[in-house]
Amino acid sequence: MPAWEPPSGYRIPAWLRPPETMIPGIVPVELLVARTDTHAVLVSDLRAYPTGLEFAVVARPHPDQLHRPRHDPGRPRHPRYRDLWMELRFADGRTVSTDSRRWPRTFETTQPDPPFLYYHGAGGSERGWRSPHWLWGLPPPGPLAFVCRWPAGQQPASGVEIDARLVLEAADRATAVWPAERSPA
């Protein structure tokens, strides 16, 4: 079987996405990272690969929020989900964040040193908002914290810690469906 060849044309760089010939290992948690009376933020669909971790940041309103008339002045202003950013804290003290001011300027053309936390846009409506994230590089063993932050203190930062072993064991379960390409470009 010939080694897999990537198609021609633009490809998202390999360090900004999961490996395309693999099925992930599933990290068996869904995390409630923040919760107020009106909204919740979750980290879900955690999929681990040898090169990193994919997950979705999901923000949802309390169901009561959806019952209020849109123009009700008593309707609480919801946080702008789009302004939320994620930070991951590793056991060795390193942190990575989707605050793009902290990204190396050449990250889209030059492979950054892991770890690097990226997100592929976001979408949704007031009924729910979802943003796919990709952590390039796996965390070291020990505690792994997922923290969400809003700029200008719109909401206090809030987070959840898991044992990175869950991620590392899931990464070991990821499987290649075809032989990988001979060598990276």
Partner: protein, 180 residues
């Protein structure tokens, strides 16, 4: 009997129709917003929004890339035009963007929640965009970034009242019921 039998009954092939929420209504003449909005400008590139054509259901516009006339036109970078990110934001916080494919695909029988952005044409000079849904009054923000061409996150605002007024000017081509 196989797990998937009975298969759905074959239906006569129909003309392929783009879903009603992915384009403007064909039976209408849009209202025009006579504005060209400069969203970003660097020493080499500019990104504009123009050609806003508004219907009661949403609006079309062109996303236009211009290069400084003095710039030599280099060989198109295959990375380039894929990475021109556009986001449209309503005053009430709702937004839609042309992210790289990771947006929900609407079920064919149920429109997506507005706003929903569909870029039907993409190329090195920008493209054509349809936005499903009309904005509420207030600022209507067009935001873009284009790292491959060193355009940082940039944005410009339009008064959504211009869009809403143009929607009210849209007219039907055939006001009477025509042949079925």
């Amino acid at each position: 009997m196989s797990f998937f039998e009975p298969l759905p009954a074959p239906r006569p092939p129909s003309d392929y129709r783009v879903s009603a929420w992915a384009r403007g209504p064909e039976g209408m003449v849009p209202g025009v917003v006579p504005v060209a909005l400069l969203v970003a400008r660097t020493s080499t590139h500019a990104v504009l929004i123009d050609g806003l054509l508004v219907y009661p259901t949403g609006f079309d516009f062109d996303l236009v890339v211009r290069r400084h006339p003095g710039q030599p036109r280099h060989h198109p970078d295959p990375r380039g035009w894929h990475e021109l990110r556009l986001e449209v934001r309503f005053a009430d916080g709702r937004s839609a963007d042309n992210g790289p494919g990771r947006w929900p695909r609407p079920h064919r029988d149920k429109p997506p929640d507005p706003p929903w952005l569909y870029q039907s044409v993409s190329g090195p000079d920008g493209g054509h965009v349809w936005l499903w849904g009309l904005p509420p009054p207030g600022p209507l923000t067009f935001a873009c970034r284009w790292p491959a061409e060193q355009i940082p996150p940039s944005q410009a605002e339009l008064d959504a009242g211009l869009v809403l007024a143009a929607a009210a000017r849209a007219t039907s081509l055939w006001p009477d019921p025509g042949p079925s």
